[in-house]
């Protein structure tokens, strides 16, 4: 009985394995290997193509490339921190301050806007912030400002929009772990005279660390890899690294250079994910849940 069963299970295994294998190898592994190969290819003056490190060298030689890279990584970290600072009190409010009934409703309300496409939310920010936008019309209308100011296409507007579009990915994991925090721990600490700051620092944040880490990783990756928001709201001379990739691929048609940039972006985001996993001692398979 057992033996015949096992033979049939292997058959099922093949049935399930082939589509998964085709998917992962044809649509993921091989494309990335091809991208890696292309990033090491280049054409010399005679039009012959061959192995070269030029594409990576260009990144370090041209300040505009690595400055964009540093800028993207730096802003992604800053935005992740801002998102975290906003998300913590909101998550606390939803899980610990309001009643149980309001909790469900509030959770629903914070999720709904995130079903709306990033494009539409960025468009909303453009309408609000631009020179002929809502804020300018109101402030000039009531006489606070004499002339309208262009608030779009600045780093500040870019940060606002990126924070807005990525908040949920921090909120949900934190709400998840904060829910499991026992209220009596906070009560006990409070009874023993701990201040709010100490309770946050010693009890709430350590308890929520897993959620904070997975939220931060997701937000960082999404921000560093975002394209819509920087290209619609960023300044003319402040590119995002994804735009450099786009420029190389679609505008300059230099796929080898673009491939090298792609790998650099992949590299920095993997390094940051790996580092934050190492620091907190977690595993990828736990975080992505």
């Amino acid at each position: 009985m057992m033996n015949s069963n096992r033979a049939k299970i292997r058959w099922g295994f093949i049935l399930f394995f082939i589509p998964v294998f085709l998917w992962l190898f044809l649509l993921f592994v091989l494309p990335h290997l091809e991208l890696l190969r292309m990033s090491f290819l280049g054409t010399d003056y005679y039009g012959k193509s061959g192995f070269t490190l030029d594409n990576y060298a260009a990144f370090f030689k041209e300040p505009v490339y690595w400055l964009t890279f540093v800028r993207t990584a730096g802003y992604s970290i800053i935005i992740t921190l801002i998102v975290l600072i906003i998300a913590l009190p909101v998550a606390f409010y939803i899980t610990k301050v309001v009643g149980v009934r309001a909790k469900g409703l509030l959770t629903l309300i914070i999720i709904v806007p995130f079903w709306v496409s990033v494009l539409i939310r960025v468009y909303g920010w453009m309408i609000i912030l631009r020179e002929s936008g809502i804020i300018n019309q109101i402030l000039v209308g009531i006489g606070l400002w004499k002339v309208p100011k262009e608030m779009l296409y600045t780093d500040a507007s870019l940060i606002v929009a990126l924070v807005h579009t990525n908040l949920l990915f921090m909120l949900l994991p934190i709400i998840g772990v904060m829910d499991s925090l026992d209220d009596s721990l906070i009560e006990a600490a409070s009874n023993l005279g701990a201040t709010k700051l100490i309770i946050w620092w010693k009890i709430i944040i350590p308890h929520c660390m897993t959620g904070i880490m997975s939220g931060s990783i997701i937000v960082f990756m999404l921000v560093a890899g975002s394209y819509i928001t920087p290209s619609l709201m960023g300044g003319k001379n402040s590119l995002w690294f994804t735009q450099q990739i786009y420029n190389q691929f679609i505008i300059a048609f230099n796929w080898n250079q673009g491939a090298a940039f792609g790998f650099l972006l992949l590299f920095i985001s993997s390094i940051i994910v790996w580092l934050s996993l190492k620091i907190t001692g977690q595993r990828l398979s736990e975080v992505v849940k």
């Binding site: 494309p31 009643g99 792609g262 985001s269």
Partner: protein, 286 residues
């Protein structure tokens, strides 16, 4: 600090103000976009000139509403087709993956599982360029060596479907795996004992049990595909999907028609999430 502890009045009020401001921040851009779809003005901005439905139903020639706007209608239709393709493909493969990782034992299972998770943490832009490069190289290779010209490998909708599926399948697989973990394998054993073979068991027992989560996965895949931009950007040919078409219009400053399209999308999403909520409540009560 929490419900059970006493707080000073200023703290409570301050906290509530913070939360209210947060929710305003959350909803302001969306509400503004929706509101301006009904403004009787040729520009998507205030002041308010009065209510109009022109941007939905006007036939032109001065104002063309979204229901007569050929470019946007075509883009919506394209997106629907792509999303349908992606949800069929990724639901099939994702369900296979769920069975593979949920029920089969084999060497390197852990490694393959990590590999399956990887597409989720690779930026969409990179998935786009890697699939573009690979398809292009493969196309050149096939044409040079075998003389086959595969249209599917040049930028266009089939390539968009494949590229989007490369990461959306992972989401479907995770949804189905979560459900499969709760499955009682005793049911399968019972079917085996009654003489069913593996295929019959999968078809009549396990898939029946998984059906809600497979449908859920398909819906998630549809939505993810419908609003995907980053991966699509590199794989699209001459027929834009809705996000690509909207992006081009928004970059040029937008127009009330864009607001009207956005309003329809927001409504669609809201109704969807309410239905979704209602369904999940209903299954919980069963």
């Amino acid at each position: 600090m929490i419900r059970t502890l006493p707080n000073s009045k200023t703290y409570r009020i301050g906290y509530s103000v913070f939360v209210v401001v947060y929710f305003m921040f959350l909803f302001a851009p969306i509400l503004i976009v929706c509101l301006l779809a009904f403004n009787n003005s040729n520009f998507p901005s205030l002041p308010w000139y009065g209510f109009t439905l022109d941007w939905f139903i006007s036939k032109g020639p001065r104002r063309v509403g979204v229901f007569y706007h050929a470019m946007n209608l075509r883009a919506i239709f394209t997106s629907l087709r792509v999303a349908l393709g992606v949800s069929v493909l990724s639901t099939f493969v994702g369900t296979c993956a769920a069975f593979l990782f949920g029920q089969e034992e084999f060497r390197f299972k852990k490694g393959l599982y990590l590999l399956m998770l990887a597409p989720m943490v690779v930026p969409g832009v990179i998935l786009g360029i890697s699939n573009l490069s690979f398809a292009n190289s493969l196309g050149i290779f096939l044409e040079k060596n075998l003389g086959i010209d595969l249209r599917i490998l040049s930028p266009g909708l089939p390539l968009v479907v494949l590229g989007q599926s490369s990461f959306i399948t992972t989401f479907v697989a995770l949804v189905v795996i979560a459900k499969l973990k709760k499955f009682d394998r005793g049911l399968e054993e019972a079917a085996y004992n009654l003489g069913a073979n593996r295929l019959q068991v999968v078809w009549f027992i396990t898939l029946r049990y998984l059906r809600p989560s497979i449908i859920g996965g398909a819906v998630v895949a549809f939505l993810l595909s419908f609003e995907n931009f980053n991966t699509t950007l590199f794989l699209i040919g001459s027929t834009p999907t809705l996000p690509i078409a909207l992006f081009a219009q928004i970059r040029d400053g937008g127009s009330p028609v864009v607001n009207a399209v956005s309003f329809l999308l927001v409504m669609g999403m809201t109704i969807f999430s309410l239905v979704n909520l209602y369904c999940s409540r209903a299954t919980e009560h069963q």
